[in-house]
């Protein structure tokens, strides 16, 4: 039917447009990382060129980007593991129990989330300085909990609610402890949701700039996004190196996100009970 064909065309065009808008900046970033400094600013833009890896070499040698990436991995994994370990039970508790204070607790979590980093930076820094924990990744792992835990709890409460209560009741009759039920019945059924929460929290932790910049400023301890910040303040912005670093910083996160994209639909079912 003609109408369907036209609709399909528009549908396709719309999606193609979206895809293009998302891809183009990425293409530009990757292309710029492979061009020489003069080529980057050339107009008309250079579309076909010989790739030139000097920027990557420079970023690795000059800016210690590999060390920064390692630090980011340590901090992100640490923060996510802690956040999920602590947040999943909390979400379960909020999902399955009605008790006094549950609303206040949720409110407290969200308030934590709303703290503007710029402001709490000063007290965190002063605290870290007092405890001689500047340049210590543990400080970051702890501070990131202010947004990891609320996110994890928010996403998982409804996941847990979606698990059929009958399963848990049956296990209860079998004599399993509450925690046992949580661990062996509920959790396995919500792995997709937990994965999504973990990846999303991981993305935010990886991308954090302000906290990392102030609390782990040393060249050995700093995380990947802070390398981006340091380019901003140089006299000359070495655009090739900036883009090379950008590719290396966003690469892992984007790949991670793509890897789990299938789970996202299942993991983000907020408040839906089949």
């Amino acid at each position: 039917m003609g109408k369907q064909r036209i609709l399909s065309l528009f549908h396709g065009l719309f999606l193609a447009f979206i895809a293009l808008i998302i891809i183009f900046p990425f293409y530009w970033m990757i292309a710029s990382s492979l061009k020489t400094e003069n080529q980057i600013f050339q107009l008309p833009p250079v579309w076909l060129f010989k790739p030139h890896f000097a920027s990557y070499a420079a970023a690795i040698v000059n800016d210690n980007i590999l060390r920064a990436l390692l630090n980011s991995v340590i901090v992100t994994v640490g923060a996510v593991v802690l956040g999920v370990a602590v947040g999943a039970p909390a979400a379960y508790g909020l999902a399955r129990y009605k008790f006094r204070g549950s609303a206040q607790i949720q409110f407290w979590y969200v308030t934590n989330w709303m703290l503007i980093p710029v402001v709490v930076l000063i007290p965190f820094y002063l605290l870290a300085a007092d405890l001689r924990m500047i340049d210590n990744p543990i400080m970051l792992i702890l501070i990131y909990q202010t947004f990891v835990v609320p996110l994890v709890v928010w996403l998982l409460v409804d996941q847990f609610k979606a698990v059929p209560i009958a399963l848990e009741e049956a296990a209860l009759l079998d004599g399993m402890s509450k925690f046992g039920i949580f661990l062996r019945i509920t959790l396995p059924l919500t792995i997709p949701g937990i994965t999504v929460a973990a990846i999303l929290a991981g993305i935010f932790a990886w991308n954090d700039l302000l906290y990392a910049f102030i609390l782990t400023p040393g060249t050995d301890a700093r995380t990947a996004p802070t390398v981006m910040m340091s380019y901003l303040g140089g006299y000359i912005i070495p655009w090739g190196r900036v883009m090379a670093s950008a590719v290396m910083i966003t690469g892992p996160v984007v790949i991670g996100g793509i890897a789990i994209h299938k789970y996202i639909a299942r993991g983000l079912t907020l408040g839906a009970v089949k």
Binding site: F41, G218, G234
Partner: protein, 448 residues
């Protein structure tokens, strides 16, 4: 036979004389002075700029000679003050050698965060007799003299210079660059303005932040007779007719610049110049190597900035090293030895050759070096005749002061305010800020 008293006395006298001769013949050496500090670690704040790269390259020489380990911590400029201030307020002892921009010494000394230089200079064991403070250009000594005392050792020093594209100038009938701003605007600019060919006579870096304050706003203040304030009467004077005249000139000048220049920082302006789109820029001396290496490099010449109707006042900026007062004495001494070494006469030449910029007259006026680095000669001329140490105010609350200047300066530049209205508003804001923070009490008015 018992020696006579006389002979004993004579013998002792001779011995003492011999010993003292030996002592004075034994000159001060770094190695000796550093002996008690072997094994210490000194943490030094640096920036991602050529001078510090050069310093880092040469640091192993110091480490080898003294056994003191030096750790460099590199910060982006915009965050250096933040990091250092937080360090001091929290007493975290993160840094030993403190880097101070020319506008920060009041900040650091007022709160007693740094140990006075004179303490170290008075210590015979630590002070290099060859330090020759007078070898630093007067403008630099004065810039870091607070309440009559030198508080830092200058390192990484800049002058604003005029870079021009000889080829473009020649193509339009000019065999030499302009010497006054008026000339640049009325004679040179109109001839070289052709947007259709992407050709502009002049580009002014104006990005929000210190660039707007230092490179854009202040540059068009002094040469017309404008001043930030009168310390004696505690009044901001940016609404004076001279100040307004200067900034109005800026508005006329940027009409000849590329669109969007208001957001451009050093990086973009240097790119534009390097690509041959702009004929002239007034940028820091530190950009010479980058410009020479660009596409337009072979055509680039460098000279002093143009003068205004009320005199020559080129952009002035740079840094100095100080010693943190919050670290143990032993570390402070070791730190002193390092910064003394880094800023010494003997290190000036090697640093220069590795891309650094230093304020040592002996090195900068050396004819061989001047031949090798063409920017040195105009830089020296600028420091000797065309700069003032408080080109930007030396006040404790400079950072936010500069923020306000940067905000209104760029608002005026984009045309959001007319020059008189904008200057009046800025004056009001600055006056309120200075009054409410009690900053007037610590204003430093250096010798010119």
């Amino acid at each position: 036979m018992k020696p006579s008293v006389k002979s004993i006395l004579l013998g002792s006298a001779c011995a003492v004389a011999a010993l003292s001769f030996a002592h004075s013949a034994q000159a001060w050496t770094l190695q000796q002075a550093a002996a008690p500090y072997k094994g210490e670690t000194v943490t030094v704040v640096g920036l991602d700029r050529p001078s510090y790269k050069a310093a880092q390259k040469l640091t192993p020489e110091f480490e080898k000679e003294t056994g003191i380990h030096v750790k460099w911590v590199i910060y982006p400029y915009e965050n250096t003050l933040k990091a250092e201030t937080l360090n001091f307020v929290s007493h975290s002892g993160q840094f030993d050698a403190i880097l101070s921009d020319v506008v920060w010494p009041v900040d650091f000394t007022k709160a007693n965060w740094v140990t006075p230089i004179k303490d170290f200079m008075a210590n015979k064991d630590l002070a290099d007799p060859d330090i020759d403070i007078k070898d630093f250009f007067p403008v630099w000594r004065h810039a870091f003299t607070i309440k009559g005392e030198l508080v830092g050792l200058p390192f990484d020093s800049y002058a604003g210079l005029l870079y021009y594209n000889k080829k473009i100038l020649k193509e339009h009938g000019f065999s030499s660059p302009p010497t006054t701003w008026d000339q640049l605007l009325t004679v040179y600019a109109p001839k070289m303005y052709d947007p259709s060919k992407n050709l502009y006579p002049y580009a002014l870096q104006s990005a929000r932040g210190e660039t707007q304050t230092a490179d854009s706003f202040t540059r068009f203040l002094w040469p017309w007779g404008g001043r930030y304030f009168d310390a004696a009467t505690k009044k901001i004077t940016l609404d004076s007719p001279d100040a307004i005249k200067g900034e109005a000139f800026r508005q006329k000048l940027i009409k000849f610049g590329p669109k969007g220049i208001i957001a451009d920082d050093h990086s973009q302006v240097v790119q534009l110049m390097g690509q041959g789109q702009v004929a002239m820029v007034t940028e820091w001396s530190a950009f010479y190597p980058t410009l020479i290496a660009s596409k337009a490099g072979p055509d680039i010449g460098v000279t002093t900035e143009p003068a205004g109707p009320k005199g020559q006042y080129s952009a002035f900026g740079g840094f100095a090293y100080m010693v943190s007062a919050q670290v143990p004495k032993k570390t402070q001494d070791a730190t002193w030895l390092f910064i003394q070494w880094l800023t010494s006469k003997s290190m000036a030449k090697p640093l220069l050759e590795n891309g650094a910029v230093v304020a040592r007259a002996s090195a900068d006026t050396d004819s061989a070096l001047q031949a090798k680095f063409p920017y040195l000669a105009p830089m020296v001329t600028t420091w000797e005749h065309g700069s003032v140490p408080d080109w930007r105010p030396q006040i404790a609350c400079y950072p936010y002061f500069s923020e306000l200047v940067s905000e209104y300066g760029s608002d005026i530049e984009t045309g959001q305010y007319t020059v008189p209205a904008g200057m009046k508003k800025l004056t009001g804001k600055l006056q309120h800020y200075m009054n409410s923070t009690g900053c007037w009490n610590s204003v430093n008015v250096p010798k010119h």
